[in-house]
C-alpha cells in the first residue's frame, strides 16, 4: 500500500497524466483511502485552475498582431535571408567595425602578395639579360650598356 509521502511526490505527475497504469492504480487506491491526500490534491487542482484563469484573463496581448510585428520591425529587425542577411550583418555598428578591420587586413595582405609575386616573376629586361648571359657569358653581359667598356669586346 502506498504511503502519503510517496503519494504526494506523485501529485504533479498524476495531474499531468504521466503515471504508468500500475502507478496510477496504486495512487488512486491510496487516494480512495486517504482523505488528507484527497483534500490536498483537490487544493492543487483548484490552485492550478486559478493560475490558468489568471493567465487567460490577465496575460493577454495589449496590442494587435500587426502592431506587435511592426514594433518588432522598429526594433531594427532586418530580413535574415540571402541579401537580407548580408544587410543585417552590415547594419550593426560592431559588425561594420569588424568588417572594416577584416577588409583592411585582407587588402593589405593581398597587396603584399601581389608585390611579392611580382618580384618573383621575370621581367622583360631579365629575360633579355638572360639571353645575353647564355650567349656571351656573365662578363660580356656586365659590359652591356657600359659606355666605358664599349668596344672592348667584339660581338
Amino acid at each position: 500500500m502506498m504511503r502519503c509521502k510517496q503519494a504526494r511526490k506523485l501529485f504533479s505527475v498524476y495531474l499531468d497524466e504521466g503515471l504508468s497504469l500500475g502507478e496510477a492504480q496504486d495512487f488512486e487506491k491510496h487516494l480512495s483511502a486517504c482523505a488528507g491526500c484527497r483534500e490536498q490534491l483537490e487544493s492543487w487542482q483548484k490552485a492550478g485552475a486559478a493560475l490558468t484563469a489568471a493567465l487567460d484573463a490577465d496575460a493577454v496581448p495589449s496590442t494587435s498582431l500587426e502592431e506587435f510585428v511592426s514594433a518588432c520591425r522598429s526594433g531594427e529587425i532586418q530580413p535574415v535571408g540571402s541579401l537580407g542577411r548580408l544587410v543585417q550583418r552590415l547594419s550593426a555598428p560592431r559588425r561594420v567595425v569588424a568588417a572594416t578591420v577584416a577588409g583592411s587586413f585582407a587588402l593589405t595582405f593581398a597587396l603584399i602578395l601581389v608585390f611579392w609575386a611580382a618580384s618573383l616573376s621575370t621581367s622583360p629586361l631579365d629575360k633579355e639579360l638572360s639571353v645575353y648571359s647564355n650567349r656571351f657569358g656573365p662578363a660580356n653581359v656586365l659590359a652591356l650598356g657600359d659606355p666605358n667598356r664599349a668596344g672592348e669586346e667584339e660581338w
Partner: protein, 197 residues
C-alpha cells in the same frame, strides 16, 4: 508535446484559416529567411499568447511580460538562421522568452521597482481582479526556479523533457521541481484565499 498543431492555435489575425496558417513551423521559418514577413506574422500569432503566459508567470506584470516577449521575438527573428535543423522551434522560442524574462527580472530588481503586490481586497475590487492579484502574489512568493517550471507547464504544450531542455536540467529535476512548485503555490493560494477556497 511542443511544436505546432495549426488547428489548435489561435488565429491572432482574426481571419479564416489560410494556406499559410496551415504551414508547419519549419516551412514558415524557411519563408521568413527569404524575407516573407507574413510568415513571421503567422509564427508570432501562433506563439505570442503562450509566450506571454510564460513571461507573465515569471514576471507577474503584463507590461514587463510583453516587453520580454517582444524582445524574444526580435532576437528570434535576427537569429532565425541559427535555428535551422536544431530541434523544435517552440522550445527554442520559450527558452529565449525565459531568458529574456529572467534578464528583465534582474534589471527590474536592480532598478528596485516593485511589482503590484497583493493586499486584502477593498470594497471596489471585483472577484476576478482579486483572484488575479492572489495568483500574482502566489507566483511572486515562489523562488524563481519554481515559478519558471510552473509557468512553462501552465501553457500545457510542453512535456517534461522539453521543459528540461529549456531550463537545462535533467527530467527528474523538472519532475521534482514542478511537484514542489505546485505544492508551494497551492499552499500559498489556500492561505491567501482563506475561507473562499
Amino acid at each position: 508535446m511542443g511544436g505546432h498543431t495549426p488547428r489548435d492555435d489561435n488565429n491572432a489575425q482574426g481571419e479564416g484559416v489560410h494556406e499559410i496558417d496551415e504551414l508547419p513551423d519549419d516551412k514558415l521559418i524557411e519563408r521568413v529567411e527569404f524575407g516573407d514577413e507574413q510568415s513571421f506574422a503567422v509564427l508570432v500569432g501562433r506563439y505570442r499568447v503562450k509566450a506571454l503566459h510564460v513571461a507573465y508567470g515569471i514576471l507577474q506584470s503584463r507590461a514587463d511580460a510583453e516587453d520580454a516577449v517582444q524582445e524574444a521575438f526580435i532576437r528570434i527573428y535576427r537569429h532565425l538562421g541559427k535555428f535551422r535543423g536544431t530541434g523544435c522551434f517552440s522550445s527554442w522560442l520559450y527558452k529565449v522568452v525565459v531568458n529574456e524574462s529572467l534578464r528583465l527580472l534582474r534589471t527590474r530588481r536592480l532598478a528596485s521597482t516593485k511589482t503590484e503586490s497583493y493586499s486584502p481586497p477593498g470594497a471596489t475590487a471585483d472577484k476576478d481582479t482579486e483572484a488575479i492579484l492572489v495568483v500574482k502574489q502566489c507566483l511572486s512568493d515562489l523562488p524563481i526556479k519554481y515559478r519558471t517550471v510552473l509557468a512553462l507547464r501552465a501553457i500545457k504544450e510542453l512535456d517534461y523533457a522539453e521543459i528540461a531542455g529549456i531550463i537545462e536540467a535533467p527530467v527528474g529535476t523538472v519532475r521534482s521541481r514542478l511537484n514542489e512548485a505546485r505544492r508551494l503555490f497551492a499552499e500559498r493560494w489556500k492561505e491567501l484565499m482563506g475561507d473562499e477556497v
